[in-house]
């Protein structure tokens, strides 16, 4: 059965165009993807991301266990800190990407993709070691993301700035907002400064409503996707899947081969392909699953692509033969029945300017 989040009625009230995504009814947009995208780049927007999965890992060896499951090194993770990582299968290909929240030495919260949560839970459980307790907490958490240069400003209307995490990829486990206890992390998926708040359905709904009252722009899944693409962030099912290793999708930074062991390590092979950014030099919009050629030779295909609202152009990510991955290489992309010229450009396409507040 398709699920509604605790903010479903609010989305409908705000005229969100509701769609089914990963078994949840969520707004794809309220007014326009472009407007919502720009609101996040220039001001602040809010996303209902309650569909994300949360898996709690508890036990004396919780850190060692998760370190064995993921390819980055989280052995030194400290309480209140977060690490981005990847779950690999024995073949060394990607099961999912995730965030590891360290609640304590014996308690880690894994935040995983909505469409993968059952698969991840099963995989983690199948690889369980003695003394570890694994709980799927997905149904007990609602989650919102507050993203944009004014995210701190708007949040300080309802919570003292001292209770907001300061460092990127850190969190505060118990913060009281509007008489609710919630977890706040300084994280996001837009390339802007921002926070994500986790808590019970009623708590998150109250916070959502009060921020809407304060003038935050509600944003849907559409702009979530264009924002992450503009920021060069990979998305599972596009830049990552069970046919690709981290080495071949420009995620080698998160793959610590010097680590003694992690699942998939012995089979990690570099197939000579990599993820690049493409900028369309011609007319039209490059989208996902379009073939990329260099002088009539097929060298790969695009994994995501659209018109990026802030940069105002047709951009895509593609996985192609490494030989052609140097910046400024000009390739041909097949858009339906015609070809356009595109240039390999540096990722991310957009990087926020760091300004002192």
């Amino acid at each position: 059965m398709v699920k509604k989040t605790s903010m479903y009625d609010e989305h409908v009230e705000l005229k969100g165009k509701m769609v089914e995504f990963a078994n949840y009814l969520l707004p794809i947009q309220y007014t326009s993807i472009v407007d919502e995208h720009l609101a996040v780049r220039q001001r602040v927007g809010i996303f209902d991301v309650s569909h994300m999965g949360e898996i709690l890992i508890e036990g004396k060896n919780a850190i060692a266990f998760v370190n064995y499951l993921v390819c980055s090194d989280i052995s030194k993770i400290q309480s209140s800190r977060i690490k981005y990582s990847l779950l690999l299968n024995e073949k060394g290909t990607i099961i999912d990407d995730l965030l590891v929240y360290c609640l304590s030495e014996t308690k880690l919260l894994l935040v995983v993709n909505a469409s993968n949560k059952e698969k991840d839970y099963k995989w983690i459980t199948d690889n369980k070691i003695a003394g570890i307790k694994i709980t799927d907490k997905s149904d007990s958490y609602s989650q919102i993301a507050i993203q944009g240069p004014l995210s701190k400003t708007i949040l300080t209307h309802i919570v003292n700035a001292d209770f907001l995490p300061k460092k990127y990829y850190s969190f505060i486990e118990k913060v009281n907002i509007l008489s609710h206890e919630v977890l706040i992390s300084k994280t996001g998926y837009t390339g802007e400064d921002g926070y994500e708040i986790y808590g019970e359905g009623d708590a998150i709904k109250d916070i959502f409503n009060s921020l809407i009252q304060l003038g935050i722009t509600p944003c849907g899944l559409g702009s979530r996707d264009t924002l992450r693409l503009e920021a060069g962030m990979p998305l599972y099912g596009h830049e990552m899947n069970e046919d690709i290793t981290p080495l071949n999708t420009s995620l080698e930074f998160f793959c610590k081969l010097e680590k003694d062991y992690f699942i998939g390590k012995e089979n990690l092979v570099d197939k000579g392909i990599t993820r690049v950014g493409l900028f369309n030099l011609d007319k039209g919009i490059i989208r996902e699953n379009m073939e990329v050629f260099f002088e009539n030779n097929l060298i790969g295909s695009t994994t995501s692509g659209t018109f990026l609202p802030y940069l105002k152009g047709s951009y895509a990510m593609a996985i192609i033969d490494k030989k052609y991955s140097l910046e400024n290489t000009v390739v041909d992309v097949k858009i339906r029945n015609r070809f356009v010229k595109a240039k390999v450009v540096k990722l991310p396409f957009y990087k926020r300017k760091k300004v002192g507040v």
């Binding site: 794809i28 472009v34 919009i285 659209t306 018109f307 609202p309 339906r336």
Partner: protein, 120 residues
């Protein structure tokens, strides 16, 4: 009532200029479904009814733009090629292309009939 817009079931509108010439545009309903329109490319010249005139692309998706008429594309509205957002803003007041030597047409609906059709 000659200047009234008529609609095809594939969501284009037709505005007759004479018996053999007409402007073609996109219905407001279709524009709203597509969302922010960011690119339009009309590359057909001679078209039969239901032939593809070109592409209309929004942030969300690409969509074929079909010809409700058989004839010759004699002009493309440069204003909307340069600024496709005009369609998103006011689809039924901006034409996309002009077709001449019209020899045939699909079934065209009045505004009322079209509204009933999209209600279904």
């Amino acid at each position: 009532m000659e200047n009234e817009l008529l609609y095809s079931e594939s969501h284009e509108w037709v505005k007759w200029i004479s018996e053999t010439e007409a402007y073609v545009g996109l219905s407001k309903y279709a524009a709203a479904q597509l969302g922010d329109i960011v690119y339009i490319n009309i590359d057909a010249q001679e078209v039969s009814v239901k032939d593809v005139l070109g592409d209309i692309e929004s942030v969300k998706a690409v969509s074929d733009f079909y010809s409700p008429l058989e004839g010759e594309v004699i002009e493309v509205n440069q204003e909307i090629v340069d600024n496709p957002a005009l369609i998103t803003e006011d689809a039924e007041n901006v034409w996309i292309c002009k077709i001449a030597n019209i020899k045939n047409k699909v079934k065209l609906l009045s505004k009322k009939e079209y509204e009933a059709f999209i209600e279904e």
